[in-house]
Each structure stands twice: as structure tokens, then as C-alpha cells.
Symmetry: C2
Subunit: 205 residues, 2 copies
């Protein structure tokens, strides 16, 4: 298996499978089929079998997938068989909501530091974290070896913050600011922008 050769669109579906399988496991379900999983996630059974088979033979004809085994495999493939430290930049409403969000730790992530450039926010609490000044961000992130960040600053401040994150050695940025970011080629960005997602749907209304 050569990781580079798996199409990005397949990688994008794996977290959706992982999420559904994890939920089934939490309910005590031990086995599933591509058919059943497909119905849960709205993807065809054939597509699921094809996607998963890119990484090995994880299912058995007739008995389907053993969920704990497939969970382990998917977590290892996506490298969330560990906990990634995450830096959160921007302590506004969205930053506070994310700092308090309980859904990260069982999916491979934990916020470990929160930054803002607003003096009135620095020193305040966001979730369990004391907000630190962005002045010290590069140094703090670099010293801690943090590779993952979430960006919840206003659009006008996002590029500058992204530049600092790249400088600090961050390689994956989840960007909540409604603006495209220019980053070095070895830095990945995923966008969460509710208006963009809504506009994808209004087209069909």
C-alpha cells in the first residue's frame, strides 16, 4: 500500500465510516455488512467495499466486517489511533463553543492551547483553557510540537494567523473563517463555513 496513491475522495469518506462504526460499537454491535453500513451513511455498499479494500481485506464473504477490528484498522489508517494535540486560534463565540466541545477526545483530538490577539480576551477562560496572546503563539506551538490547529478568527485576521501557524510548524488547519487561505504546500487546510454549505443546498431548492 502506498499512501500517496489513495485518492483524496476515498480518504474523505473513511472518517464517515469510522464515525458510524464507532457509534455502532458504542451500542454494543459487533459485526456489520457493507450493506448495513451503507444505509447508515448514505453511500452504496459497493462503494464502501471498494474504498475499504484499498487498504486490505478487512471483511469476510458472508460474515461481513468485525467492527472492533475494522475500527482499529480505520483508526490506524487515519492516524487517530493516538490523540493529536490541537491549538485553537480565536476565542470568540465559535472558539468558546469548540473549547467546550466534548466530541473530540474519543475521535483522536484534544485542544491544548487557545490564543487570541484581543487584549480583553487574553487571560480569560475558554472552556478549561486560559486564553494566551497570539504574540507567543509561534513559540508555544513550536515548543509543544503541535501539528494541528483550528482557526476561528474573523476573515480579515485569518491569513495572518495561518501564516503564523505555518511558521510554527502546524501542518493541518481546520479553518472556520469564511476565506480561502494561502499556505505552504506541506500544510493542509479544511474549511468549515456554514454559509458555503447552505449555498450548496439552496441550489436544489
Amino acid at each position: 500500500m502506498n499512501a500517496e496513491r489513495i485518492p483524496d475522495i476515498i480518504i474523505g469518506r473513511l472518517p464517515v465510516y469510522l464515525r458510524a462504526l464507532q457509534r455502532m460499537a458504542e451500542k454494543g454491535v459487533q459485526t456489520t455488512s457493507s450493506q448495513e453500513l451503507g444505509e447508515r451513511v448514505g453511500i452504496s455498499a459497493a462503494q464502501i467495499r471498494k474504498d475499504i479494500s484499498q487498504f486490505g481485506e478487512f471483511g469476510k464473504q458472508g460474515t461481513g466486517y468485525h467492527i472492533p477490528f475494522l475500527l482499529d484498522k480505520l483508526r490506524a489508517i487515519l492516524k487517530v489511533d493516538r490523540i493529536w494535540d490541537v491549538a485553537l486560534v480565536g476565542a470568540g463565540d465559535m472558539g468558546h463553543a469548540l473549547a467546550r466541545y466534548q466530541g473530540f477526545s474519543n475521535r483522536g483530538f484534544q485542544i491544548v492551547m487557545v490564543f487570541d490577539n484581543d487584549p480583553s480576551k487574553v487571560g480569560q477562560m475558554a472552556g478549561n483553557f486560559k486564553v494566551e496572546n497570539t504574540d507567543v503563539m509561534v513559540e508555544r506551538i513550536r515548543a509543544a510540537g503541535v501539528k494541528v490547529a483550528m482557526l476561528t478568527v474573523p476573515a480579515a485576521a485569518a491569513q495572518e494567523a495561518a501564516d503564523l501557524l505555518a511558521k510554527a510548524g502546524v501542518k493541518a488547519i481546520l479553518n472556520y473563517a469564511p476565506i480561502s487561505l494561502n499556505v505552504p504546500p506541506d500544510v493542509r487546510v479544511q474549511h468549515i463555513d456554514p454559509a458555503t454549505h447552505l449555498q450548496r443546498m439552496t441550489y436544489y431548492l
Copy 2:
């Protein structure tokens, strides 16, 4: 032009173009090229030309795109040349952040009602909205003719809330709950789940 024949992946890129063009317009820029737009959004100029040409000849050889004209066209295509009323379900941290978010109105959306099933939240304020009981949700949404909703309830409550939204006539759901939803075929769902987005990136780390 037959709307049904445009691939979903192209529709998904149009809001990204629209967002970048809107930002350029706000800065007073009047014209752009597929090259320049491509650099801003990280998509090739050829892809942008091809995507936009699905809907007509909106650019001119040599002079590129007139931004106000292209904005009007993209807004009409995505049906955000109007303001869509949005129902928000779930008045937790994320619901509060969205209720206060200022970035919807200039992109075609406005929250008009907020619901929660927690008696301690009903009657409280979320942004400028008094939280209403989900008991009255179907009736309220149906009476107001609301077609778009955002779902920020816990995973365990999401399917039931989605069923109510579908029953109320909602056709587009932006789902923040970390779970896949089963909805009737005429209802569209987009997912916003930060852990899923992060897992798409850790694969490459």
C-alpha cells in the same frame, strides 16, 4: 441549461468562487481572471473556466470576468439572490455561536427561530431569539414556510429532530451533530463535523 445535469461537485465549488468574488468586490475590485480567482481559492484556472461555463458565457477573452456581473449570476444560480429564513434547532454552545454569527445575512441566510427540547433553555435568549420548545417546532416551521434548518443538537437527539424538520417541510438541513441522518429523498443534508474534517488531514501527517 438543465439544473439536474450539473454535477454536484461543480455546484459544491460555486459557493467557494462566490465567497472569494464577494470578498474582492468588498475591497472594490471590479474585474478578475480565472487565473487570479484560482490562486485565491486553490483551484486551477482551467477548472474554474469549465465550471462557470456550464452556466453560460460570463467572461470575456482577454478581459476576464466583471465581478459584479459574475456575482449576480452566481447568486442567481445558487438561489442566494434572496434571503432564506433558517430554523436553528439546538441552543447549546454551538447553537448560541450560530445564533450570534454575523456572517449569514450577506450570503443569503437569516436565522428566524431557535428551538430546544430542554425546559431550562426554552424561554432563554440565543442571540436575539427567544428559544422555543421543540413541541411547537413542526407547527411553527410549517406556518412560516421555512425550508432551511441548522441542527446543533447532540448526536442522540439528531435523528428525531431531523424527522420533525422533514415533517415540517424543511428541505435543506445543515447538520452539526456527529451522526449521519436518514431523511426523505427530497431533503438534502450537509454535514459539519470538526472531528471528521480533522481526520481527513491526519491521514497525511
